[in-house]
């Protein structure tokens, strides 16, 4: 590593090696651009190291155990023992395999890798500072930059992540023992996914949520099976409360939850206030109330790049910021903060820099929640469609009518498809149930291709599969489903 101040140059500087940044870098390399990827921590970013991958690994592993433990109906009697350190080291092995894969893929695509923290010096220069062994810094001149610095968990007042019993999602994915009890603050997708993991590991979980339901933003009918199963797992919910403080009366900690619109806010009596305030004695508290862009540690101003007041870098359909040769992709460029959104933007930015006619013009952007059961959505809901001026028709198919779902012992949920009545173009879909995350792919393709209900309904789907439910939902919207009654 270079110590001191050396100036080198690159055509494309990519800052951050998460799924937005490393994909941008690989694609740029494939397009024969001279590209340098700077990462301060670990290849693969949040997603591979502390997000998508470790969470899905633990979700799947706890499901294997939970599935076998609750299969008496199927004639299976098992009492699986989970050794958390074994599970975590397996998960770490998966992460290592993927992150070292990312590193290899970057190299194989001629991406120069640089470890360090990048900050902007001016419109065409960045400083890369190295900590640890190769301490020091260097300057890097660039023709184009792609900012892909991602996001970090939002902290709430009085719950500093530095205090041991207060953890964020990253720490929750790396615990070395199963807590007896846990408060999860926030019933968004990250909170709900981790709540299930811990409930399946045997932790007593209480979820505290400011709003009046889980998974804000999702339709009620999609949430219902998830809420039901969470209840079945013994997860407790405290809605319309915020976690206001915590202290350590004894071995456990005490988390105080205040009502959002309660007596206190309404100037009620001391008794009324006390009655609504909850004290939860638990071992740990996981704060998962959302994520904020990492844009304040980059000296963006030095390059003239603007953000909105949440710190999100504003971009156009070419992933360009207000500064023409600087791009922003992934979480730092705003919602939806999802890995595949970032990868798509990263790919687009690289192609635009290479002069290709690329644009962010996807019609379909899926979102998946890996709760039990999973939720997956794409495109417009019925309400969205109405608001956009469409005349939507909706088709639905319940998994309890699916032969394949019944043979897996998991038949809660449904597939719903929304289309324009007049011409049948598919506008959106939502699925809650088994393999929702995989089933949504067909509907993404349908929307992207401009398919109609008839196209989906006339495509032969293999029997017995869950994907037949997609076809049946389309047939239902057309009024001639075979395996469910039509509207």
């Amino acid at each position: 590593m270079v110590v001191g101040d050396v100036t080198t140059a690159t055509d494309v500087l990519v800052i951050g090696a998460g799924p937005a940044g490393y994909v941008a870098a690989i694609r740029a390399g494939q397009l024969d651009l001279d590209v340098t990827l700077v990462e301060k921590e670990a290849y693969g970013g949040t997603c591979l190291n502390h997000g998508c991958i470790p969470s899905k690994a633990l979700i799947t592993a706890t499901d294997v155990a939970h599935g076998a433990a609750t299969a008496e109906e199927m004639g299976i009697h098992a009492d699986p023992a989970i050794d958390l350190s074994g599970m975590v080291s397996w998960k770490d092995g998966v992460v290592d395999q993927l992150t070292s894969g990312v590193e290899k893929l970057c190299k194989a695509n001629q991406v120069s890798l640089l470890e360090g923290t990048a900050t902007f010096v001016d419109e065409h220069t960045a400083r890369i500072s190295h900590s640890g062994e190769g301490q020091g810094s260097e300057s890097l001149e660039f023709e184009h930059a792609i900012v892909a610095t991602g996001s970090r968990p939002i902290a709430i007042p009085d719950f500093s992540f530095d205090a041991d019993p207060v953890i964020d999602s990253r720490q929750a994915l790396a615990l070395d023992s199963v807590p007896d009890s846990l408060v999860v603050v926030g019933a968004g997708y990250i909170g709900m996914e981790l709540a299930s993991v811990y409930a399946k590991l045997g932790t007593d979980v209480t979820v505290v949520e400011m709003l009046d339901s889980i998974l804000p933003g999702y339709d009620d009918d999609l949430k219902r099976p998830v809420k039901q199963r969470a209840n079945d797992l013994g997860i407790e919910f405290v809605f319309e409360h915020t976690a206001s403080e915590w202290y350590e009366p004894d071995e456990d900690i005490r988390v105080v939850a205040e009502p959002v619109d309660g007596a206190a806010a309404n100037g009620g009596s001391a008794e009324a206030i006390d009655e609504e305030r909850l004290e939860l004695d638990v071992e740990k508290v996981l704060v998962a109330v959302g994520r904020e862009p990492v844009s304040d540690t980059l000296d963006l101003e030095a390059a003239g790049v603007e953000t909105d007041d949440r710190g999100i870098i504003q971009t156009d359909t070419r992933a360009r910021t207000n500064v023409d040769h600087i791009f922003a992709v992934g979480d730092v460029a705003g919602e939806p903060m999802l890995a595949h959104k970032g990868s798509m933007e990263g790919q687009t930015a690289a192609e635009v820099i290479a002069g290709e006619p690329a644009a962010i013009d996807h019609q379909a952007m899926p979102a998946v929640v890996f709760t039990d059961p999973e939720i997956a959505t794409v495109g417009l809901t019925e309400t969205d469609a109405e608001e956009a001026g469409y005349d939507p028709v909706v088709g639905q198919f319940p998994f309890r009518a699916s032969g394949r779902a019944l043979t897996t012992g998991d038949a809660d949920g449904f597939v719903k498809i929304v289309a324009e009545e007049s011409d049948g173009y598919v506008l959106g879909a939502s699925i809650v149930g088994p393999e929702a995350s995989e089933l949504i792919a067909e509907l993404c393709l349908a929307i992207e291709l401009g398919a109609t209900l008839e196209d989906v309904a006339s495509t032969v789907h293999a029997h017995p599969t869950l994907s037949e439910s997609v076809m049946e939902a389309a047939e239902n919207a057309l009024g001639h489903a075979i395996h469910t009654l039509n509207r």
Binding site: G334, P357, I360, Q363, M365, A388, G389, Y390
Partner: protein, 61 residues
Amino acid sequence: DTEETGTPQDRVFVPPRLRRKAREDGLDLSSVRGSGPGGRITAADIRAASAADDGGQETPD
């Protein structure tokens, strides 16, 4: 902005390969008339529109 929602006016039901072709040719898809089934925009419609844009002749299929 990656908002995917559109209005019936600006939503075009055209597969990615043709959207890219239109961008290559600098065409605004919302101005292309679709001749396919249900008013779908076809590859030929895009070729015709770019030819017209260039003031050139449409090349026959």
